[in-house]
């Protein structure tokens, strides 16, 4: 019975990857044809300097891309849930499970943000990075589902890990936006944006958006760290022990606090703020990859 669920989970993950691939292709199609569109658009006004993009031709591709992304999200959700059923615990016991859940959170963060902001230009990047994550997970990190070690048996696992994973998804999204900012800034410093970048929002919007994302999720990350401390107190008898994972969670927290200060109180904007944002996000990724795979300490549950 347990293994059946594990198989079901794998099928869902594979289907999600297939659908992410369709979404990726649709995004690529949209981007590619949005590049060609300007030639056919707006020439009637005789003003070649302000070419605007005509998205009518690619609108359908864009919709398919987003719809597929949503479908893939739910398939992946089913995969994660089935994995949990097969292991009889929340599916956060090893690095394979962290990775598929992380990919889910990242996609989810994008889809939720998409409702409020026009982020479809990011879809190409999102779908390819989720595909790469899932591919790595299923080929390199895959482990059979197994029971949790006793220290992980706690309600706090659910609370702590879910808030950490959601925070991570949003942090990474903020990083992607900050990265887009830096890239576009370089492009713009050399002249006008090429056609395929025209629909990406202005630099100010990107700058503001990455800040919004961080400010939105910083309380949740703070909560995740505190929930971890409460859990550590009940499992290990101390709420803070400077274990490598704890240390890097702290570093991430301080880095984002510095970012928020730099923006709100010192008035950093633009390039400097974007670099600081990316630095803070990298500490999160580093914690996930380095400490799980090569690190020592009480937190190495990667199963590798």
């Amino acid at each position: 019975m347990q293994t059946t669920w594990a198989y079901i989970s794998n099928y869902f993950v594979y289907s999600a990857m297939a659908v992410f691939t369709i979404s990726f292709i649709a995004h690529a199609f949209e981007t590619a044809f949005a590049v060609r569109a300007p030639e056919t658009a707006d020439t009637t006004e005789g003003n070649l300097l302000t070419k605007t993009l005509d998205y009518k031709r690619t609108e359908r591709a864009a919709r398919i891309a987003t719809a597929m992304m949503i479908l893939a999200f739910f398939l992946l959700l089913a995969g994660v849930v089935a994995r949990g059923i097969s292991a009889k615990h929340v599916p956060w016991g090893n690095m394979y499970e962290f990775s598929i859940t992380g990919a889910l959170a990242f996609t989810g963060a994008y889809l939720v943000a998409l409702r409020k902001h026009d982020l479809r230009w990011l879809g190409l990047f999102i779908s390819i990075s989720v595909l790469l994550t899932l591919g790595t997970a299923i080929t390199l990190l895959y482990r059979n589902s197994s029971p949790l070690v006793p220290a992980l048996k706690s309600t706090w696992l659910v609370i702590h890990v879910i808030s950490a994973i959601i925070s991570g998804g949003v942090f990474l999204l903020a990083n992607v936006v900050a990265g887009a900012y830096l890239y576009l800034e370089r492009v713009e410093s050399r002249g006008e944006r090429p056609a395929w970048l025209k629909r990406v929002p202005s630099l100010e919007v990107l700058d503001q958006l990455s800040y919004r994302l961080v400010a939105f999720v910083f309380p949740l990350w703070t909560f995740a760290v505190i929930a971890g401390a409460i859990w550590a107190e009940s499992a290990w008898g101390r709420y803070w022990g400077w274990d490598p994972k704890e240390t890097w969670a702290f570093i991430t927290w301080v880095a984002y606090a510095a970012y928020l200060h730099a923006r709100v109180t010192v008035g950093w904007r633009g390039r400097r703020a974007a670099w600081l944002c990316i630095f803070a996000g990298s500490t999160f990724l580093f914690n996930y990859v380095y400490v799980n795979v090569w690190g020592t300490g009480k937190h190495t549950y990667s199963g590798l």
């Binding site: 059979n144 197994s146 949790l148 006793p150 220290a151 706690s154 401390a229 101390r238 709420y239």
Partner: protein
């Protein structure tokens, strides 16, 4: 004359004032904050005494030159080092210097009405002029009241403000960080922690001598241990047959606390609580119960000997020291709960439960050095001055005879490691943590904004301003204008 004395004094105070202003400036706070993040990094890459003393010892053995330099820079004790402490102490002084005056200011601002309406409203965001009836100001006042704005009503204008909770939350958040720091320091000054290995069937009595390791905060001493006992009745460890990973550890214990006895269950995430002191189940292993006899069959040693696990399958090492035998003997031993042999490693364990237990040992004769006064590990024997007289192995019930005596493995019982902790500061740290999250929520999600309205010749003009250009103000102003026009 007087001048000459006064100038340096003023200069000194001026200098102090200058330093204070620098320290409490935002730029300094930002630098200190980043420094603290960077300073925490080495401690996660270099082994630390507090988390992994063994790794520190290995590091010393492997890199003698480098490690003496590391040690001089406190790199093995990063989080207690002078330079790390300097950074966070400066940060917190800066924090206090920044937040306390702001709290006072904020408190005053909350009591005072909002600032007066600026002269030129048209320079502010969402400025619009509307032709409206003369009753506009009253309409506006009721709207502000409904929406719980705080208002300053002047002859021809109203200045309204809302969202003080943002600032309140921000200040609470910063103050809560101070509370957390107080909690942490309080715990390390007045707390205690200790470890004790207890065989199943034995009783742990909370006095200093029963501990294997015990440390106290700087400001308390050994007299402050609360009197309780924990008798371990039964212990069960369950392992997954496929992966050998542990699934569950449960200890059934009998607890006496101030004269009252009760049965309790102790698990990894469920410690026992005695007032401020908590007892955690931290590790487990096996104690072979052995009987050692001399050549005349007289018992010279009998009892359980805790062995130290070396891997996930609980291959364990230990030593049995028999000073009462003549001459005294020692057994350098390893114990495997489920025995298997490999050619490369010798005896190994292939499962952590007692499926096929075996005790393997070498026997050494001579002065064990127990009376030398030098503290010794109970798990190891220094064999440099001893003579090996045999090699053997036994399964439960078996006896091994050697020149000068015999050893019998009677049975094997599990032991558990109890971790006893008293941290009187943790409740303050927890309270600080809760306040921090609540404060952050109201600080980062709160929107502080002002809306103004003033009558003009042709009607009224409206303008608004949001701190940090928080979103949503436009909708609010539109709603306000609709109300003024009577559309709502």
């Amino acid at each position: 004359m007087t001048n000459q004395v006064e100038i340096p004094e003023l200069g000194f105070i001026g200098l102090l004032r200058f330093a204070w202003r620098q320290l409490t400036s935002m730029r300094t706070a930002l630098i200190l904050l980043m420094l603290m993040g960077v300073a925490a990094i080495p401690g996660s890459l270099i082994p630390q005494r507090i988390t992994n003393p063994m790794a520190v010892r290995d590091f010393f053995a492997n890199n003698p030159g480098l490690s003496s330099w590391y040690d001089r820079l406190s790199l093995f004790d990063v989080y207690g080092s002078p330079w790390f402490s300097a950074i966070y102490i400066l940060l917190f002084i800066s924090l206090i210097g920044c937040v306390l005056p702001r709290s006072v200011e904020h408190y005053k601002a909350m009591l005072a009405p909002p600032p007066v309406t600026p002269k030129n409203l048209d320079r502010l965001s969402f400025h619009q002029e509307i032709s409206a009836s003369t009753a506009s100001l009253e309409l506006a006042a009721t709207w502000f009241k409904q929406k719980r704005f705080r208002v300053r009503i002047e002859g021809d204008s109203i200045s309204a403000e809302k969202g003080y909770l943002r600032e309140t939350g921000n200040l609470l958040f910063h103050l809560s960080l101070i509370l957390i720091l107080i909690g942490v320091s309080f715990g390390s000054l007045f707390g205690m922690r200790g470890d004790a290995i207890v065989n199943v069937g034995e009783r742990f009595i909370n006095v200093p001598t029963t501990y294997d390791t015990l440390s106290f905060g700087k400001l308390i001493n050994a007299n402050s241990l609360p009197p309780f006992t924990v008798k371990v009745d039964r212990f069960v460890a369950q392992y997954d047959p496929k992966t050998n990973a542990p699934k569950d550890y449960t200890a059934w214990v009998t607890v006496t606390d101030s004269g009252k006895t009760s049965k309790k269950v102790l698990k990894v995430n469920e410690p026992l609580t005695f007032g401020n002191t908590r007892v955690y189940l931290q590790a487990n292993g096996y104690s072979p119960v052995v009987t050692v006899r001399d050549s005349e069959k007289k018992i010279v040693f009998q009892g359980p000997v805790p062995f130290l696990p070396q891997d996930g399958n609980l291959r364990s090492i230990g030593s049995i020291k028999v000073p009462d035998a003549k001459p005294s003997v020692g057994f350098v031993a390893s114990f495997v709960p489920t025995n298997a042999r490999t050619t490369s490693q010798g005896a190994i364990s292939i499962f952590p439960e007692l499926l096929d237990p075996k005790l393997l040992f070498s026997i050494w004769e001579g002065d064990l050095g127990l009376d030398s006064g030098v503290p010794q590990s109970v798990y190891k024997i220094d064999t440099s001055k001893l003579k090996q007289i045999g090699l053997g192995s036994v399964k439960p019930g078996e006896t091994f005879n050697y020149r000068g005596g015999s050893i019998t493995l009677e049975t094997v019982i599990p032991w558990i490691n109890l971790n006893v902790v008293d941290d009187p500061g943790k409740r303050y740290a927890l309270l600080g943590g809760i306040v921090a999250v609540l404060g952050l929520l109201s600080s980062l999600y709160g929107r502080r904004r002002r809306i103004w309205i003033r009558t003009t010749n042709s009607g009224v003009e409206v303008a608004a301003l949001a701190k940090n250009s928080a979103p949503g103000l436009e909708a609010e102003v539109n709603d306000f204008v609709k109300h003024l026009k009577g559309e709502k």
